[in-house]
Amino acid sequence: MSDGHLPLAGVRVLDLTDRLGWYTGRLLALLGAEVLRIEDPNKPQEAPLPPAVDVNGRTVSFHEEYAHSGKVISMLDLASEEGSSALADLVESTDVLLSGLDGRAPGGWAEINPGLVHIVITAFGWAHTPHDDEIDDLLILAAGGLLHLGGYPDSGPIVPYGGQSYLAAGIYAASAAMFGLIQVEHEGSGYWADVSAQETMAQALEDSLPGYVLTGKIRPPEGAEGKEAGTGTYACADGYVSMVAGRLGTARAWAALVDWLTSECDEATELVNDEWSDFAYRQTSEANARFRQIFEAFASTRSKETLYLDAQRRMIALSPVSDVSDLLANAQLRHRGFFSEYDHPILHRVVTAPGPPFRFADVELPVLGPAVEIETAAFSDRGST
């Protein structure tokens, strides 16, 4: 069916983004686009995003390395006349321009390239993001409402790992770029989108938004405890497992869970009592706490891997709380050839990289390595295309 071409083969992407848009270029490179990132050597250096290490006087930010994988990077002094004219030439010859707060307003390059797809990625939208400060992930999550649902009820909200608002903005900016490419393909005229990282977080509030509107109740953070017996994060012999069993749609899993626990653990026999079959009872704090005691006693002699395999055999949605070493050893990911390796150019160590988030039946997506720096900022020759 397919001629095996990557979906974005022949598409040029010019990347002028700050950290909110870095991940967009990575995704577009995975899909086959040529992504040229321009960095200005005169721009003040931002603190490297974690995780980062200092080795022999050089800083390696794995966040940046990961987000820039698959790109070509070139330096351009954008304040100079040559630099700004070189940039204009690049904008004229690109299909997609990704930019941030220090670039032009959405649509601001239309005169130079009327058919351009211009995606602007900022914390709160172009007109609402203060231009004088970088906006921390923590503050974007706070503004978007997601932060309020996380963390511990006693000690406060905790930002999730990895700069999630930057990645979320990057993903949805990539979708905006795709909408733009489709529209330009059909209509020929240009397209712009003004992406708000805050909005990418505000679409992730699950039932809390309709919950507030329909019942007037503000959903509190659940912490690690979960809100009912059978659902939450539980300690085991070598870490933690995460489980969802017994809420609506998983009633059978609760029966399977009781069956499992009672067949292997005397302390669990009380779970066969009538009250435990009532979902409303399992939602009481008393039941939740008692179940936790029973399950954690059972799990204390079992590894997360054993619990995972045993639970899944019984059709119970339980997963290990994986750390990085668990993931690197994960049988499923290994079977699917998910990881690839490269020799790190600065660290002189072998680094393992995740594979793509999606796969296409007829074409293998490229294995991305660290960005390559080039001297002259230019796209490669795309010949007749």
């Binding site: 503004a143 795709m178 708000s196 505000a202 969802v244 750390d323 790190h344 988030p357 796969r359």
Partner: protein, 401 residues
């Protein structure tokens, strides 16, 4: 419909979480989404709270509603043998077929990629199995929260030494998995517009989720320690969430020394002496707990409104930790028309979230989430050319059900 996907029609078997959000976004961009569902085995979300007090049943869930505007509902009972022919006939009239079941369900219904392709050569076919189509764990089950745990996000998110908490939500269902799925489907639609060729896409929700902790995989595999660090970030002190006198939380992040100096000055105006100047971030980093304690004490004596106002006035990067009530009032979201209130015959008024970007065309109109089977006759007659007699027969036989 208008929008970049105007003219695109999707046969949508997605349900519950991640998949439903892919097609919600496509609907907002102008695609016609034909959602296949049945009373014989309804989407669990249709029965999941929240409900407006006094309402119940398959049409009352606010949770279901929030993920399903801009879609049509076609009632089709896939457990009936006659359903397959109808589904195939629909599949031959669409641009894309989407689903997010475990491997084997679409195959059981005779709707595998080769079978759909046989009636629609250039179809785009998206599946979103939790762990991919093949492999020793491909039949495993999970939810957003367990996928977040399996994928590494949970272990890395929390206070060191405490049980990790992740995001406190089914995050993979809401951002990485629908987001990556959407990007992939759009890339395939773009390629088809250029070449006329279709594509099958597989999104493993596990693998997609690992992609949002990709930096940790790189660092950990190279032998560097990767662990949960709470709200700490190197060089940024103070950084965290602090409780106000009215039991709200304010987030503060002093990424530059001048931010701290402004905060220090503001605290000093209330008589808070932060003792040593601790001008540089490395000085503050060495005494992080002490800095946090001083700030926490100061914030605890002020109301959320006052502390937010004062910090903003002097230019300390900060913000209230918005609740679900606050985000509805947020002026930035309001001005960008991020919320769109629909009127639903059972639920009443309910705000829906839009795509997280605005375009030159502005926000498009939005149609309310469908009642189960609301568009069955419309689609049966207009797309399938079905007679009313046949429609009545199939309805009575609980095929169109």
């Amino acid at each position: 419909m208008s929008g970049p996907l105007a003219g695109i029609r999707v046969l949508d078997f997605c349900w519950i979480g991640a998949g439903a959000l892919v097609t919600k976004a496509m609907g907002e961009a102008g695609a016609e989404i034909i959602r296949v569902e049945s009373r014989s085995h309804p989407d669990n979300l249709r029965l999941t709270p929240p409900f407006r007090p006094g309402t119940e049943g398959l049409e009352a869930s606010g949770y279901f509603a929030s993920r399903n505007p801009d879609k049509k509902s076609f009632a089709l009972n896939m457990s009936k043998p006659e359903a397959r022919e109808i589904a195939l006939e629909l599949a031959s009239n669409v641009d894309a077929v989407t689903s997010n079941f475990r491997p084997g369900i679409m195959e059981k219904w005779g709707l595998s990629y080769p079978e759909i392709k046989a009636v629609n050569e250039d179809v785009i076919y998206l599946v979103m199995p939790m762990q991919g189509n093949d492999g020793p764990h491909s039949s495993f089950i999970g939810f957003g929260s367990t996928i977040a745990a399996l994928g590494g996000l949970v272990s890395l998110s929390g206070e060191p030494g405490r049980t990790p908490v992740g995001t406190g939500t089914h995050y993979p269902d809401h951002v990485p998995n629908p987001g990556h799925g959407l990007v992939a489907v759009l890339a395939a639609l773009f390629q088809r517009a250029k070449t006329g060729k279709g594509q099958a896409i597989e999104l493993s929700q596990f693998e997609s989720t690992v992609n949002v902790i990709g930096s940790a995989i790189l660092a950990g595999s190279a032998g560097f320690s990767v662990e949960a660090v709470g709200n700490r970030k190197p060089g940024v002190v103070p950084r965290g969430t602090f409780r106000t006198s009215d039991d709200r939380w304010v987030a503060i992040s002093c990424s530059r020394d001048e931010h701290w100096l402004r905060l220090q000055e503001e605290m000093a105006s209330d008589g808070v002496d932060s003792q040593n100047p601790m001008t540089t971030s490395s000085e503050r980093e060495a005494r992080r707990d002490e800095v946090n304690e001083v700030v926490a004490k100061w914030v605890a004596g002020l109301s959320s409104e006052i502390v937010a106002h004062r910090l903003a006035r002097v230019g300390v990067p900060s913000g209230l930790v918005n609740t679900s009530a606050d985000v509805l009032e947020d002026p930035r979201l309001a001005e960008r028309e991020f919320w769109h209130t629909i009127e639903h015959p059972v639920i009443g008024e309910l705000p829906m979230f839009r795509l997280p970007f605005v375009t030159a065309a502005g926000r498009t109109s939005m149609t309310r989430p469908p009642l189960l089977g609301e568009h069955t006759w419309e689609i049966a007659s207009e797309v399938l050319g079905m007679s009313s007699e046949e429609y009545d027969r199939l309805t009575t036989a609980e095929v169109l059900y």
